[in-house]
């Protein structure tokens, strides 16, 4: 590398830029009044604030693109591709059927155990993946957080949105299994969206809180998989609600996934259900979601400084 030559080149470049810039600027008429009246005030934010719904609505297209991006890149360079979306609940179903049903002797209230387990697993897998993906989403998109501005809330939510496709495939597979087991579809199936929504709210709420905390404390990354694993056992995925003593049901309902899984299964497979538990879980979901929005909003101010 020749120092002199490099410097000369550098200087020559600047002269060229200068001329180009002049040309460029001359063609701008500078005194016309601006057409747009967009005005932006950037000031310190303190305390708890609601999210800016207008801004979110305005950039909704970006949300769509982020979801699309996350779907698109998730299975890039994999051989099985989209099959991974159902691989997890399917294998879990087989393993659970073998161990918990055949060996440990857990019995359902009617439906065949594989169908019972799979219907619960579809929803649970969506929840578990949503929480773990979204909690790592901000840290995984550091460049976006520190170099560009758009509503940050999109990052964790988009990673959950992208999993919606997996959920859809999963639900379709549940229907396929119902056909296989000749289990008739009940009108209760109309309530499926409610339970999906509840799950979405709970996952989003937790995802927002955890992703924000993860920016500050990378401990989250290690804690989440562990707690998700534990969560499987305190949710009625493997076993029916009957195994939970009645006195503990409401406490059990504080776990948002208890009620969602119970309700989801009930609407698909019928049988007895505990509405109080479902409502308690729904309430927890809504609460988690709102808490997530506010906490995220509060913590997002410092993301770029810390991440």
């Amino acid at each position: 590398m020749s120092l002199g030559r490099e410097k000369r080149l550098h200087t020559a470049n600047h002269k060229r830029i200068k001329n180009l810039w002049r040309v460029a600027r001359r063609s701008c008429s500078l005194n016309t009044m601006m057409k747009s009246s967009a005005e932006l005030l950037l000031r310190p934010h303190t305390g708890w604030q609601p999210i800016d719904l207008r801004e979110i609505y305005k950039s909704r297209e970006l949300f769509g693109f982020l979801v699309w991006r996350d779907i698109k890149i998730r299975y890039k360079q994999t051989i099985l591709g989209g099959f991974w979306a159902v691989f997890q609940p399917l294998t879990a179903m087989l393993v659970f059927t073998l161990f918990f049903n055949r060996l440990a002797g857990i019995q359902t209230d009617g439906p065949p155990y594989p169908l019972f387990a799979f219907s619960g697993l579809v929803l649970w897998t969506f929840f578990a993946n949503s929480v773990s993906m979204s909690s790592n989403s901000l840290v995984g998109n550091q460049v976006l957080v520190s170099k560009i501005y758009f509503p940050r809330i999109f990052i964790p939510l988009a990673s959950i949105g992208a999993l919606g496709l997996d959920l859809l495939i999963g639900v379709l597979l549940v229907f396929a299994m119902m056909i296989y087991y000749r289990w008739s579809v009940l009108p209760g199936a109309l309530l499926i969206p409610v339970y999906v929504l509840g799950t979405l709210l709970a996952a989003s709420g937790l995802g927002l809180i955890l992703s924000a905390l993860n920016v500050h404390f990378r401990d989250v990354k290690y804690a989440v998989p562990f707690f998700i694993q534990m969560g499987l056992f305190i949710s009625p995925v493997i076993y029916p609600l009957r195994y939970v003593p009645a006195g503990y049901r409401l406490l059990f309902g504080l776990n948002p996934m208890s009620g969602m899984i119970v309700g989801f299964r009930h609407s698909l497979l019928g049988g007895p259900t505990d509405w109080a538990l479902v409502l308690a879980s729904l309430a927890t979901s809504v609460f988690l979601f709102l808490a997530g929005l506010f906490i995220f909003r509060r913590m997002e101010r410092r993301f770029a400084d810390i991440i």
Binding site: I17, A24, R25, L30, L40, A304
Partner: protein, 425 residues
């Protein structure tokens, strides 16, 4: 006229380390207790908790300025002066701690070209993703898609994942998207300084095309020459404070003065090059020190008159034996132009043979004919035509006015002085 960019008492505070959370963090509320108990658990004692005072620094302190419609303003300052922080606040990436900024018009800020590109997505997909991320609507991207592609000259690679792009292609695609943003206020962080010249020309031409409405540009730069060339107005930031605001040329002058003023505090005739800051990562130290002396071998503390003789002593370590080493010294003016280059290989009687270990060379420059001003000295060591070490700030020289021509007039215009004679016919 109402200013387009209005920065009012803007301050930004950063915590240093993690000694203590600031009063406005959730961590304070939620985690503080937890942290303490965790520390207690870990250390088995309760001492050393928050014993230190809150540690923070002001990255920006009480910044005020405004930019009119159509203004092109450059912001310069040394590393750590707060340029990036200011840029981040203006780009909404981080909140100010105090004060406010009012932006009137559609803003686009480019802190980096191609931010948000995903390596696994194709060029086509990234154009959409990046465009929408930078604030375009999908329809806008769609309508400008062909233009963007044509602009980037990457038609053939549109369906190739960008991870297979060369860095030049990557930058071109990034530029192409950014060039079609059509903002009213553009905040740029020297991104214009990248990419090859032919492409830069296209970018600037594109900006000209925007044309109809006045475009306001805020250009943050580490390069004074670029600032003077591109901007009408200049703003100097020093240690988080705005210390100068005026036309670009005066800002550059002020900045140079400020830099040398700061250096004056610890100015001496000798500069330690071994532990010099800002050495490029590909270099390990070979250069040890640089010393300045005048013609009588008296130490020179950085100021001399026009046309004086200067002796530069360069000490370096040859990590390997070499007969073909070349010590180089450049005198660089405030615009970053090399005004004069001295090289040991320019010495005709050069016959030093193979050397190794520590060497000292003295370069005597007779009657250095530079006009008054501030000059930076660069030092480099080249072995077998390959640069092995280079220090950008190897010394500082201020040439002060003197009666070089012996006429009672102090020359100041131009780059150099030269003896001349005039005859009236």
């Amino acid at each position: 006229m109402v200013p387009v960019i209005e920065v009012n008492h803007l301050s930004k505070k950063y915590e240093l380390g993690v000694s203590r959370p600031s009063e406005d963090s959730l961590r304070d509320m939620l985690m503080h207790g937890l942290r303490n108990s965790w520390r207690t658990l870990r250390r088995g004692s309760t001492t050393d908790q928050n014993s230190s005072e809150p540690q923070w620094m002001w990255a920006l302190r009480d910044i005020n300025f405004s930019v009119e419609l159509g203004g092109v303003v450059g912001i310069i300052g040394m590393n750590g002066a707060g340029k990036s922080t200011l840029l981040k606040i203006l780009s909404r990436i981080t909140d100010p701690t105090e004060g406010y900024v009012r932006l009137r018009g559609r803003v686009a800020s480019l802190l980096e070209v191609g931010t948000g590109f995903h390596p696994d997505l194709t060029g086509r997909e990234n154009i959409f993703l990046n465009g929408v991320m930078l604030g375009m609507t999908k329809a806008e991207v769609l309508s400008k898609f062909d233009e963007i592609v044509a602009f980037s000259e990457l038609e053939k690679f549109l369906d190739t994942p960008v991870k297979h792009y060369s860095s030049g292609m990557y930058v071109r695609l990034g530029f192409a998207v950014a060039a079609h943003l059509d903002p009213e206020i553009l905040i740029v962080d020297e991104v214009l300084a990248v990419g090859d010249m032919a492409f830069q020309k296209k970018c600037l031409g594109k900006m000209g095309e925007f044309g109809e409405s006045g475009r306001t540009i805020l250009f943050v730069s580490h390069n004074i020459a670029a600032m003077v060339n591109l901007c009408q107005k200049g703003i100097v930031l020093q240690q988080g404070q705005l210390t100068f605001e005026g036309d670009a040329k005066s800002a550059a002058n002020y900045y140079m003065g400020a830099v040398s003023g700061e250096e004056k505090k610890n100015r001496s005739h000798t500069t330690d090059l071994w532990s010099a800051r800002g050495r490029l990562p590909q270099f390990r130290p070979w250069l040890c020190k640089l010393e300045l002396y005048d013609g009588q071998a008296i130490a020179l503390d950085g100021e001399m008159a026009i046309g004086s003789t200067i002796r530069v002593l360069l000490q370096f370590l040859l990590h390997q034996p070499s007969a073909n080493f070349d010590a180089r010294i450049n005198f660089v003016d405030m615009y970053g132009q090399v005004i004069f280059a001295a090289r040991s290989t320019y010495d005709r009687d050069r016959n030093w043979g193979e050397r190794s270990g520590q060497q000292e060379m003295i370069c005597e420059i007779h009657d250095l004919p530079l006009t008054p001003g501030e000059y930076r000295i660069e030092a480099a060591l080249v072995i077998d035509e390959k640069c092995v070490d280079y220090v950008e700030n190897a010394g500082h020289l201020k040439i002060v006015g003197s009666d070089f021509y012996g006429t009672g007039k102090i020359p100041s215009v131009g780059f150099f002085v030269h003896k001349q004679s005039w005859h009236l016919k």
